[in-house]
Each structure stands twice: as structure tokens, then as C-alpha cells.
Assembly symmetry: none
Homo-oligomer: 218 residues x 4
Amino acid sequence: MPQAVVKPRWRRRKNARPEEIISAALEVFADRGFAATKLEDVARRAGVTKGTIYLYFENKEALFKALVRETIVPVIEQGEALAKSFTGSARDLFEQLVREYFRLVGETSLSGIPRLMIAEARNFPQLARFYYEEVVTRGHRLMGGVLERGIKAGEFRPVNVPIATKLAMAPLMHAVVARTAFAACMPEGFDVAKYLDTHIDLYLHGISATHRTDSRAD
Amino acid sequence: MPQAVVKPRWRRRKNARPEEIISAALEVFADRGFAATKLEDVARRAGVTKGTIYLYFENKEALFKALVRETIVPVIEQGEALAKSFTGSARDLFEQLVREYFRLVGETSLSGIPRLMIAEARNFPQLARFYYEEVVTRGHRLMGGVLERGIKAGEFRPVNVPIATKLAMAPLMHAVVARTAFAACMPEGFDVAKYLDTHIDLYLHGISATHRTDSRAD
Amino acid sequence: MPQAVVKPRWRRRKNARPEEIISAALEVFADRGFAATKLEDVARRAGVTKGTIYLYFENKEALFKALVRETIVPVIEQGEALAKSFTGSARDLFEQLVREYFRLVGETSLSGIPRLMIAEARNFPQLARFYYEEVVTRGHRLMGGVLERGIKAGEFRPVNVPIATKLAMAPLMHAVVARTAFAACMPEGFDVAKYLDTHIDLYLHGISATHRTDSRAD
Amino acid sequence: MPQAVVKPRWRRRKNARPEEIISAALEVFADRGFAATKLEDVARRAGVTKGTIYLYFENKEALFKALVRETIVPVIEQGEALAKSFTGSARDLFEQLVREYFRLVGETSLSGIPRLMIAEARNFPQLARFYYEEVVTRGHRLMGGVLERGIKAGEFRPVNVPIATKLAMAPLMHAVVARTAFAACMPEGFDVAKYLDTHIDLYLHGISATHRTDSRAD
DNA sequence: TATGAATGAGACTTCATTCAT
DNA sequence: AATGAATGAAGTCTCATTCAT
């Protein structure tokens, strides 16, 4: 990242190259993982040659980082914008965020990113930290905010927010991650719609202020 | 470290080498992933030389496969045995299986295996299939059986078992997988005990036959 | 090619570019050597882009050759002019040539050129020949002429001129070459003035016609 | 698949390998310089493959350093040993050291090393420092010791030892360096023997205590 | 059974050079 | 005349794999 300063921005704007490369990289990284991805494949898919990648990214790792930055972070930001402007109930916001996440990530090649990060986090501590802070933590903050909103509004019981947040996200994350990993092994498929419906229903039921009387959760 | 089974020492000596290698491989693979693992590191940790590995395993991939086979499947088997001999309520069995899984996998280096599989499944379709069938599906069958047992006994509502099974497992799997991946990024730590407690509580509450009146889940 | 250019002011501009490039090349080549010099660095220092270099020089090697031609040869010519017009004693001419060489080459970035040639001569036989003939031989001829002049005038003993010439030049050349190479390693510095003084004194003493009586040198 | 050509993979003892590689490296580096040397060429000349080099040397630079260490430093040590055990006059010791240096370095492929160092010193500051300290400085100390010995014995005038040392060495160094660089350009050859004779004679005469009466050099 | 020296295919990365604008 | 995007050959280095001992 040393020369990020020198790279004139208009060059990016004017030329679609970096975006094309990142887009190609997303496909290949998502398919094969970090180490097994050959830059030549990325280049070919982007319609350029190996050398061109190095005009825009310092090395493979930098490309990987840019990919994460440019693709996943915006999804989080979109969710934050939605939450900010949302005027309905916390339940509805919860449901909408969950479904939106699946629409944007779970069912696109972006789903490869969480899997990649889980796979490579330990080998790229610096990137892992970036991702954890800019995506995971931020995502948790977003979801945590929804829960607090519901608690304040009396829709949700006063649960332990950090834990409840993790439990709200885990089924989403795992479905995204495992589905892309084992897609080829699930000929019967995976009824995502019903999975989501059920998660939303069970989860909202679980933290709803109106149904419980005997919870141990604090 | 695999299971310290108590058996006559000299007798096992014959098989000790491959087991030592697999044990070393578990540590290294779990730490670094498949591609980033050097056989030399595995060898060193096993106290042998690279060449020796090839006496027992055809190649790196075969070692990886053996590792998966030898370490994870027994955990499933143990769970199956527990379920078979269990005489208490489905709720208690559910709780015990969940906690046992965490004890055996989530908090040992075995936790690296699911992460590895998720990372590499697409690059090793054959291994992915093996894992999916011998671990994932079998795990689901085990958990699904518990749910059915509870439904039959009138403890649980008659939910869609496959979906409910996945929703029971996802928080476990995700916690195991994400925790090892991002361990270094979570200085605050992760209160696993409370996470488990809450999951068990919320989940059992959600499918309990006695509390719900308005569920959309079928 | 646009013709009908309005010339006046831009006329010198036309030749300015190659000179600027050569000047930049001198700095970079002298600093880093041939292979380690990137044309991009030369271009940047010349205030142009890489492509521009190729408008004036066929390739890196041609630039290198032009650099040698344009920078060093004039120094020789200047020495030749001095010798030609010099009217004093051979001793004084010798001293003046030595000091002038150091002033023009030894203490400017031109000192990088001999070092470069020594480093790369074997990789560029054609250039080496050019340099050897246009610089080394010509320099030797110049210095040899001085010696012969002194011998004829009875100032110097009738030594073996080619050998004596080489011995006159070697300390100069080596000082120039080694000083730039190891500049960073000589914190104590190198008293060039005294080095030159001593060389001149010892050398002139050695070949002086008036002091020796027992030399084996012929 | 080539049919079972029985090519013994390693005939020699492990111990010999590094030396063989260094020996091959000397030839190639001396011929082409550092950057222009391909490790594959070194390998081929050593009768091994590229990879083998990396068993013994961390990288190209390390090989280069080892080469310097193993080849030139011993020459210095030999000179030091000679000086230490020498019982004759300082003049004779001087002469012997000069001739020995030429025999061991100037007329073997070791002569490529000084040239290499001069060429690459600026690009490898760390190596330059090593060489400067272990070779240049040590060589100067050796020669300076001889001069001091002669001064103490009344053989030499009380000259400025550091300067006189440099002037004693420069013709040697330059001859070694320039000869290998321009060997191909000197069809007439270079009468090394006479060059050395004359240098020794002139130099010894110059610092001799018995001949001078008018020196400016102090 | 075990070793460890040796291999060589393959990946990343660099940079001189080209060419459309 | 000048640019700057693009190329692709070439070199360093890695490491799974082999095999004589």
C-alpha cells in the first residue's frame, strides 16, 4: 500500500480496468480461494494480461484486499443506510436486512468473500483485522442497533445484545459460507427461502417481548 | 491430538507413524490451511522427514483426506453412540450433543477441520463429497433424529425437520469456524458459554411444543 | 510530421530533449548500474515518460551508448586541446591534466561512467570496444604524448612509455572508480587532494631524469 | 516419459555441493556480473538444477556473499600469514605480496570479484560494507604494515602511510579490474610482468629512504 | 523403514518495449 | 512530439514429489 498515494484517481475513473480486474478477481478468488488462484486466470478473465494487473495492484495480496474493500464494504454501507432511513418496526427492519443480505451476498458471487475470509484470515492477519473491523464488527453493530431499537420500542425482550446479535447472524453467515462450499454436494438443493423464513420467524419469536415467560437468557 | 485410546503400546506402534503424521498434519493444516501448509513443516512436527510422509500417504491431498477421515468421523460416531444409548428427554439430549460437540471440536484443534473443509471443498470435490456425506449429512441425521424423537414424544412441535436441523447446527458451526478464523481479531474474546446457553435456550424455546401459538414455521 | 513549424524560439528545444534524457540517464546509471536502472526512473528524472525515451533512443543499450559517447569523449577532447595548446614543461602539463581529470570526472557524476564501463564491458563488447578506443586508448595516447614530450625535452628518463602511461593513469582511474563504489563505506573519507599531490610527486620523481641512477625499468 | 535413463541423482557427497556451486558461481558472476547472471546458468555449470542452489544458499545475494567470503577473504589471510612469518626486508616482502596477489587473483577468475564488487557495491550496501571491511581495509592494513615495517627499519622514508598504501595498491587493483573488463579489446595484450616490475621498481624507489632529497610528500 | 539430496514445474513479479491516441 | 496503457518474455524462488542409499 505504499504508493496508494501516487495513484491518480482520475486514471481509475477514466478507465474501467481496475474494476474489471476486481470483478474478474472476485469470480476466480470466490471459486478457488486465495492461494489456488493464479493471477494469469484473473487476467484472462478480465481480458488483459498478467502484467496489466500490476499496473493497478501492487501484488496478489493487494488485489485481494482491494477486492474485499470494494465489494463487501458497500453492502454493509447499504444496510446502514437502510437502517438509518427505516421508519417501520424493528421486526420489519430485521426481516428486511436479513433478506437484503441474502439477496446481495448470499445469492451472488459475493458469497465467496466470507468464505475466503474465513479460509485465509489466519494467513493475512492484517487483512483479517480490516475485514473484521469494517465488515464483521460493522455488521454486528448494524444488527445490534436493530435489536436495541426493538428493545427500546418494547418489541423485543431486553436480551444480551452482543450474544443475540451473533445468534441472529450466524445462520445467515453459515448458510452463505457452507452453501457455496458444498454446492456441488447438495443435489437435493437447499430451500433457502424456507430456511430464511424459518430463521426469521424462530428468531423473532425467541426475542419477542410478548411470548416468553421463562427465559434463562439475560 | 487425536483420542488417547488406551491400548497396548507395542501393538499400536505399528500404526503409530501414520497417526503421528496425521496428528502433526492436523495442527499445521488447521493453522495455515491446505495450500499454505508445507509438508516439511508437518514432517518436522511429526519428528520425521518429508520422505517418510510418502511412505504412508500418496501425496498431500491424500494426507489431507486421511486427516479428515481419521479425526472428524469419530466425533460423529461418538455422538451417534450417545444418542443411541440416551434415555432422557429429547431436550436434554439436544443440549448434551451441542455441548459435547463444542467440547470435542470447538475447543480443540479439530475446529480447524470444518474451516479447512469450507475453504477447500471446491478444490477437492471428491473430498468434499466424502466430508459432506460422512460428516455433514451424518451430523444432520443425528440432529434430525433428536428432533424427530422430541416431536414423537410431544416435546417439540412438528416442525420441518431438515430446516430446523440446519438452524440448530448453523450457530454451532459458524461459531467454531469464525472463532478460529478471527481469533486474533477478537481481543474482547467471545463468551462461548453464554453463546451456547443462549442458543440452546432460544432454540428449544422456539421448537417447544408448549410455548408457541402463532408460528408460521411448519 | 508537421512541417511549417514556426521555428525561432523552439529551435534549441528540439535538441534539448535528448540531452535532458542523457543527463538524467547519467545520474541513474551512475547510481545504480546498467541492469538495475529502470527506464522509468530515467524518464521521471528527465521529466518525461518512458515512451518518450524511445523517440530518441532505440533501446536501453543505445541510450547507454549515447550516454558514454556524449559525456566522456568530450572530456578527452578537452584534455587533448589542453595538451595541444600547452607551452609549459611536460611536468606541469602532466600535473594539470591529472588535476583536470579529477575535477571534470572524479568529482562529478561522470565518475560513474568508468565504473559502469568496467562493470558492463563484458556484457557489451561492442560498446566496450568503442569505449576502449575512444576513451581508454585516446587517454593513453594523450598521457603517452606527455611522457614522450618530457623524454624528448630531457625532463623524463627514457622509460617504457606504454607501461609508464598505464602506471600514471591507474591511480587516477582506481581512485575514481573505487571512491564512488565504496563511498558509503568510507566514513573517514578519502583525502583526494593529498592523494593526488602524492601521486603526482612520486610519479614525477620516479620518471624524472635528474634523480635516478639505479632503475631497473627500461 | 523418457525411458529409465539411469542418471545418478547425486554422485558426490553433500559436503562438496556448496563448494561446487560457489565455484560455478565464481565463473559465471565473474563473466557476467551480478544482475546478468542467471542462477540457472550457475546451476548448469555446477551440474545441478536451479532448485539445488536453494538448498544451500538462501537466495542469489546470499550466494554472492558466500562466494566473496569463501574466495577472496582466504587470499587476504594468506597474505597476512606471509607477512607474519616473513623475516626478510620490507622491500622483499612488498615485492612478494604484490606478485602473490597477482598470481592468486589477477591471473585467475578471482579477478572477477573486485570488478564485481566495484560494479555492485552501491546496489548491495551491506555486502559492500562486508567486502570493504574484510577485504579492502584488511588489505590496506596488510600493506600499511609493510610500509611501517620498512619505515621503522629505515628502509623507507617516513611517508604518509595511508596515502602511500593506497598508491601502492591502486595500480594492482586497476590492472586486475580493467584487464578482465577489457580483455577482449586488448588484442595487443598487456605485458603484466613488465607492468608489475615497473610498478614495484618505481614505487620502491619513490619511498626508498636512500634516493630522495626533495620530496614534497610527507 | 527412513533419509535427505535433488528435482523441475509452476507461480509471482519486473520491466523493456510497443502502439494507439 | 508525447503519452500512458498494455504486453509478454524472462528471472527468482518455492515446494510437492522422487529415489538412491
